[in-house]
C-alpha cells in the first residue's frame, strides 16, 4: 500500500486529506454531539451541497468562472448557511430545532435547482455526494490544510470557553464570557470543517464522520478530554480502513468510512457489554 501511495500523487492527496479530516471532524464533532447539535452538521452539509452544485454549474456554464473550485463555493454557502441558521435559532427561540429542517430543505432545494440547470456533471456530482479517492487535487489539499490549522488553533485557544459553553450555556453567560461570539465562531468552524471533509467522505456522510466516532468514544471515556482523544482515534482508524478498502475494492470512500465507523461503534458497544458481564 505504502508503495502504491508513493507512486500516485492523487493517492497521496487523498490519504493526507483523510488523515487530517480524521482529526478535525471528530474533534469538532465531540463539541457538536455534547451540545446536541448533531443535526446542525447535517443541515449545513446540505447547504454545502447547494454551494457545490452552484460552483459546478457556474464553472461549466460561464467560461470566465472556470477557475472556480466548487470547494470554495461550497465553503461560502456553508458559512452563509450557518449565519442563517443562527438567525433562525434566535427567531424561533423555543423551537430551535425548527431552524434545521428549514436550512436543510433550503439547501437541497437550491442544490436541486442548480443540478437540473446544468445536467451533465453526474460523475463529478457523485464524487461530491459520496466522496472519492481520486478527486482530491493538490489545491484542495492545501485549502484543507489551511482550514485544519485554523480549526486546531481556535479550538486550542478557546478550549475552556467552548467546554463551558457546551456544558452549561447559562453558566457561561452568567460568568461573563462572550458566549455569543464564541458560539458564533464555533458554528463557522463547523461550516468550514464540513466543506473540508466533503472531498473524502462526501456531503451526505460528513455528519457521520463528526458524530459516529464520538458516539463510540462516549461509551468508554472518562471526562471530556478523553472523549476527544478517543473520538479522534476512532475517526482516524475509520478513515484509514475506509480509504484502503475504497481504493482496493473501487468503492466510494464515504461509504467505506462510514461503515467502518459503524463497525467500530458496534465493537465498542459490545466490548463494553462483554466487560460488564464478564
Amino acid at each position: 500500500m505504502i508503495e502504491v501511495i508513493r507512486q500516485y500523487e492523487f493517492l497521496q492527496n487523498a490519504f493526507l486529506t483523510g488523515m487530517i479530516i480524521g482529526i478535525i471532524a471528530p474533534l469538532l464533532g465531540a463539541f457538536i454531539v455534547v451540545r446536541r447539535l448533531s443535526l446542525i452538521a447535517d443541515a449545513l452539509s446540505h447547504v454545502t451541497l447547494a454551494g457545490i452544485a452552484a460552483g459546478l454549474y457556474f464553472n461549466q456554464t460561464f467560461a470566465f468562472l472556470s477557475w472556480l473550485n466548487p470547494l470554495y463555493s461550497g465553503m461560502v454557502f456553508s458559512v452563509v448557511g450557518s449565519l442563517f441558521l443562527e438567525r433562525l435559532r434566535t427567531v424561533y427561540k423555543h423551537y430551535q430545532e425548527l431552524a434545521i429542517p428549514i436550512i436543510l430543505s433550503g439547501g437541497i432545494g437550491i442544490g436541486a435547482i442548480f443540478i437540473s440547470l446544468a445536467d451533465g456533471f453526474n460523475t463529478d456530482l457523485f464524487s461530491y455526494l459520496f466522496g472519492s479517492v481520486s478527486a482530491v487535487s493538490r489545491n484542495d489539499l492545501w485549502a484543507i490544510c489551511l482550514i485544519s490549522i485554523i480549526v486546531l488553533v481556535v479550538i486550542f485557544l478557546l478550549y475552556k470557553e467552548l467546554f463551558l459553553l457546551s456544558f452549561d450555556e447559562e453558566h457561561a453567560k452568567a460568568s461573563g464570557i462572550p458566549a455569543k461570539s464564541i458560539h458564533f465562531i464555533f458554528i463557522i468552524l463547523v461550516a468550514l470543517v464540513i466543506a473540508a471533509s466533503m472531498r473524502i467522505v462526501g456531503i451526505l456522510l460528513v455528519s457521520a464522520l463528526m458524530t459516529l466516532p464520538v458516539a463510540a468514544a462516549m461509551r468508554m471515556a472518562k471526562g471530556f478530554k478523553q472523549t476527544i482523544v478517543y473520538s479522534v482515534l476512532f475517526g482516524e482508524v475509520a478513515v484509514i480502513i475506509g480509504l484502503v478498502s475504497a481504493f482496493y475494492l473501487d468503492l466510494a470512500p464515504g461509504g467505506t468510512i462510514v461503515v467502518s465507523s459503524i463497525l467500530i461503534l458496534l465493537l465498542v458497544i459490545s466490548a463494553k457489554k462483554f466487560i460488564k458481564v464478564g
Binding site: 457546551s166 456544558f167 447559562e170 452568567a174 461573563g176 472518562k222 471526562g223
Partner: protein, 259 residues
C-alpha cells in the same frame, strides 16, 4: 457595617410580557451576610437573581454590584452562581468532576490562556471544601443529585468569589442530606467568609444559619435580620408571604416530622 453592600438593588421592576413580575424592589446584601430569599412559586425569585447576574436586562431601576453600576461591572468572577436548573443539566455529558469544577475558572483565567498549577491547586481546594475529593475523576452523570449539587457549588466557589448566589440548590437532594448540605453552606459563609444569597423554601430548617431574610412576592414584603423575622407573628407572615405559616412550624418540629 460601614462597608458598602455587595449587592444593592434600587427600585427595580421587571416584566417579561405584560404584567410586572417584580415591582419596586429595594434590597441590599451586606458583606458577610447569609441572606435567605423566600417566596411562593412564581413570586419572581429566580427573575430577581437573573437580573442581578445580568442574564436578564434591568430596564427599570438600578443594581449596584460591589459599589459599581451593574452596566459597567466587569469582575464577574467575584460572583458565584448555582442555578435552579443545575440538577437538570444534560446528565449524559462526559465530563469529570475535575473538568466541571475547572470550568468555573474560565473567566478568571481569561481568553486564550491555559490554567496552570496554581489553578490545579485551587480546583482541588474547592472540591475539598465541598467534601467531594474522592470523586475527582468520576463522570458527573454518575453522581447522585446531592453530590452533583456539591460539585456545582465547588465550580461556583473555585474562582474565590466574594458572594455565592444559589437558586433552590436542594431540589433533588433528599431530606437526610439537606441538613449536611446546609452545614456545608454555613461553613462557606463562616469559615471561608463567602457572602451567601440563597433562594429556598426551607427557611425553617436553616433559620439558625441565615443572618437575614427577604420575603418576595412580586413586591418585597419583608427585609431584615433573622431576629426581626422571628418576632413576626403568624398573621403578619401570612400577610407577607401568602402561606407563611409553614415557615415557623417547620422550624419547631423539623427534627422528627419531615421525612
Amino acid at each position: 457595617m460601614n462597608q458598602p453592600p455587595i449587592i444593592e438593588i434600587n427600585n427595580v421592576s421587571y416584566r417579561y410580557d405584560r404584567d410586572n413580575v417584580l415591582e419596586n424592589i429595594q434590597l441590599s446584601v451586606p458583606k458577610g451576610a447569609f441572606l435567605g430569599l423566600v417566596g411562593p412559586n412564581g413570586s419572581g425569585k429566580s427573575t430577581l437573581l437573573k437580573l442581578i447576574l445580568g442574564l436578564l436586562k434591568v430596564k427599570e431601576g438600578e443594581i449596584f454590584l460591589f459599589d459599581t453600576p451593574q452596566k459597567s461591572f466587569k469582575s464577574w468572577d467575584r460572583i458565584g452562581f448555582v442555578s435552579q436548573k443545575a440538577n437538570s443539566f444534560n446528565t449524559g455529558f462526559p465530563a469529570t468532576v475535575y473538568e466541571v469544577v475547572a470550568s468555573g475558572l474560565t473567566k478568571k483565567v481569561g481568553l486564550f490562556r491555559l490554567p496552570g498549577s496554581k489553578e490545579k491547586q485551587e480546583i482541588k481546594a474547592a472540591v475539598e471544601a465541598v467534601g467531594m475529593e474522592q470523586f475527582l475523576t468520576r463522570n458527573i452523570g454518575e453522581l447522585s443529585g446531592g453530590q452533583q449539587q456539591r460539585v456545582f457549588i465547588a465550580r461556583a466557589i473555585v474562582s474565590k468569589p466574594d458572594i455565592l448566589i444559589l437558586d433552590e440548590p436542594t431540589v433533588g437532594v433528599d431530606s437526610k442530606n439537606v441538613q449536611s448540605f446546609y452545614e456545608m453552606l454555613s461553613y462557606l459563609n463562616k469559615k471561608m467568609d463567602i457572602t451567601l444569597l440563597l433562594v429556598t423554601h426551607d427557611i425553617g430548617i436553616i433559620s439558625d444559619k441565615v443572618t437575614h431574610v427577604a420575603c418576595l412576592n412580586k413586591y418585597l414584603h419583608f427585609h431584615g435580620s433573622m431576629k426581626q423575622f422571628e418576632t413576626l407573628d403568624e398573621t403578619d407572615l401570612s400577610d407577607l408571604y401568602g402561606h407563611g405559616i409553614h415557615l415557623l412550624e417547620h422550624h419547631h418540629d423539623h427534627q422528627g416530622a419531615d421525612v
